[in-house]
């Protein structure tokens, strides 16, 4: 498969210049973003890819069921970093349920289970990762953030 199908401009740009790789500024009474006492608005979750040891920490600022802001930290390969940044772009402003649906759709896309282009267009730039389906060894890199987000949103729903 051609290299530039995966390491395409969109992915390389998000890897080199991520927009959302930072800590979320949270209310002043919160010392660290990871502190569980941060309040309901900021959700934090760590995702780990055991095959490579990559770690990301996702932070979400949720108000009235809407994701107002998203950010991440951690280290990883270009695919996992870009995928996380693209995901943050996509979900900011979305309702929780919509975000969960998008993560489900993305995971289906990179596993090669969903090929309907019309449906996939909802993923916007994340469609740039479609061809990861042809590189099974790297699917885990692409889905790390999406799995983590999916779990954290479902946990929030359950907690409510």
């Amino acid at each position: 498969m051609a290299l530039n199908n995966i390491y395409n401009e969109i992915l390389m740009e998000h890897n080199t210049h991520p927009d959302h790789k930072h800590k979320l500024s949270v209310s002043s009474d919160c010392k660290t973003a990871i502190n569980p006492n941060c309040g309901d608005e900021v959700l934090v979750k760590k995702g780990i890819n055991p095959s490579c040891g990559d770690e990301i920490v996702l932070e979400l600022n949720i108000e009235d069921d809407i994701i107002k802001d998203a950010a991440f930290n951690g280290q990883g390969c270009a695919i996992s970093q870009a995928s996380t940044d693209i995901m943050a772009d996509l979900i900011i402003g979305k309702k929780i349920d919509e975000a969960v649906e998008l993560t489900d759709l993305f995971i289906k896309m990179v596993r090669g289970e969903e090929k309907d282009e019309e449906k996939l267009e909802q993923l916007d730039e994340a469609m740039a990762l479609k061809d990861i389906a042809h590189m099974p060894a790297r699917v885990k890199c692409a889905v790390l953030a999406w799995h983590t987000l999916n779990e954290m949103l479902k946990e929030k729903k359950t907690a409510e």
Binding site: Y7, C52, Q75, G76, C77, A78, R138, C141
Partner: protein, 404 residues
């Protein structure tokens, strides 16, 4: 194609592939594949049990292979050769059975931070079971455990030392003979993980005087699923069995059993006879090439790869600066590019390398790199493979830099 690659059907099939992941597994020559096929075509039956000619043939194939393995590593007796699935299983047998025999609360087990997880996790478990302490040796900058480091870490409580002969990341070969002498003087039993060493160097377990030696077949041109545990008879006799069940018994009644003699005490269930035959053929293959040729080619290619890579200012190489000491194992990073991206981009240029933590996470943390790329050479590789690696490294760097 060089004359050595021609022995390997997979190399004839993928003519453009630079296969540089030999520390993970080697490719298999015709001689080995044919020997396994012939066994299944002409000699297959359940060995040791059957009372008919074909079963006797299978038994002979199985035991002749054991005899060849014993001679290959210089074991005093055939019954000191236990068949396993791989080095991991061999090391697990030592860690379970020997620790059951030897360890009491507060005893110490000594291993190095360079161990593959397979020579680390079994000891973590053994330490937990016996409330013993797992103590670590740390290498010098070249990846070697010094005599002083060993002396400092040995104590009256050190019952077991289990050490890799050759790190799968740094490629440095330990001065085992000296280290073993010192451990023995301390009454410490020594187990060696030889999985990475045996493909590259002639092993003589009696000359080393190690008490246990574990290795896999698949890294030395044999099929996957066959490995060996060598152990001194006096210890194997005392150790309790690891797995129990068929073929490993002497007499069984409802509440108890007595176990078979060595080596069968440690070989429960129907064994991988085809694998043993394949390992025997792999030994024939290696002897037909000769360790002299293997060592010479791997040393020269390792030096070439290390020297060429180190000319690139954005490449960091781990371990000894004298690349002839790496046994063909070159662990490196390209500045700013994750090893998984490097490995994927190498792959799209027909270069197969490994990227990640190499089943040695504590070592990665000790080296402060978390993960790295690894090119590992076998004698069938050539300068063309290394040149591809170097050119691809330059290409990957420029590809990523272009995106900045």
């Amino acid at each position: 194609m060089n004359q050595y690659k021609n022995f390997f059907p997979i190399m004839r099939h993928y003519k453009d592939l630079a296969y540089l992941d030999n520390a993970a597994t080697s490719q298999k020559p015709d001689m080995v594949i044919d020997a396994v096929a012939d066994y299944y075509k002409q000699e297959n039956a359940n060995p040791l049990r059957g009372l008919y000619e074909l079963s006797q043939k299978a038994t002979d194939a199985y035991e002749n292979a054991r005899k060849k393995i014993a001679e290959f590593i210089g074991a005093a007796k055939q019954q000191e050769i236990i068949y396993t699935r791989n080095a991991s299983e061999s090391l697990n047998i030592v860690a379970y059975s020997l620790s059951d025999l030897l360890l009491s609360k507060d005893d110490e087990i000594l291993i190095s931070v360079m161990e593959h997880h397979s020579n680390m996790l079994p000891w973590q478990q053994a330490a937990k079971r016996h409330q013993a302490k797992l103590v670590y040796l740390y290498p010098d900058k070249n990846g070697l455990i010094t005599i002083d480091e060993l002396k400092n870490k040995l104590s009256a409580k050190t019952k077991i030392l289990s050490l890799t002969q050759l790190s799968n990341v740094l490629g440095a070969e330990q001065n085992l003979k000296e280290l073993i002498k010192i451990a023995h003087a301390n009454k410490t039993i020594v187990s060696v993980d030889g999985a990475q060493a045996i493909p590259h160097n002639k092993i003589d377990v009696q000359a080393l005087d190690c008490d246990f030696y574990s290795f896999s077949g698949h890294k030395m041109y044999a099929p996957m699923g066959i490995g060996v545990l060598y152990g001194k008879e006096k210890y194997l006799e005392e150790m309790p069995p690891f797995l129990t069940g068929g073929e490993m018994i002497d007499y069984v009644d409802e509440q108890s059993a007595t176990f078979a003699e060595l080596p069968y005490k440690f070989e429960a269930g129907t064994q991988n006879v085809g694998g043993a035959v394949g390992l025997s053929a792999a030994i024939d293959f290696m002897e037909s090439i000769g360790y002299d040729t293997i060592i010479k080619r791997e040393t020269e290619l390792g030096r070439f790869a290390g020297e060429e890579l180190s000319k690139l200012p954005y490449v960091t190489i781990y371990g000894d600066n004298d690349f002839s000491q790496h046994h063909g194992v070159i662990a490196f990073n390209i500045e700013g590019i994750h090893p998984h991206d490097v490995a994927s981009l190498m792959d799209s240029g027909n270069v197969a390398i490994r990227g990640g933590h190499h089943c040695a996470q504590p070592l990665m943390r000790y080296l402060k790199c978390n993960f790295c790329c690894r090119a590992s050479i076998a004698f069938y590789n050539d300068e063309e493979d290394i040149t591809k690696l170097i050119n691809r490294t330059k290409y990957i760097r420029s590809y990523f830099n272009g995106a900045q």
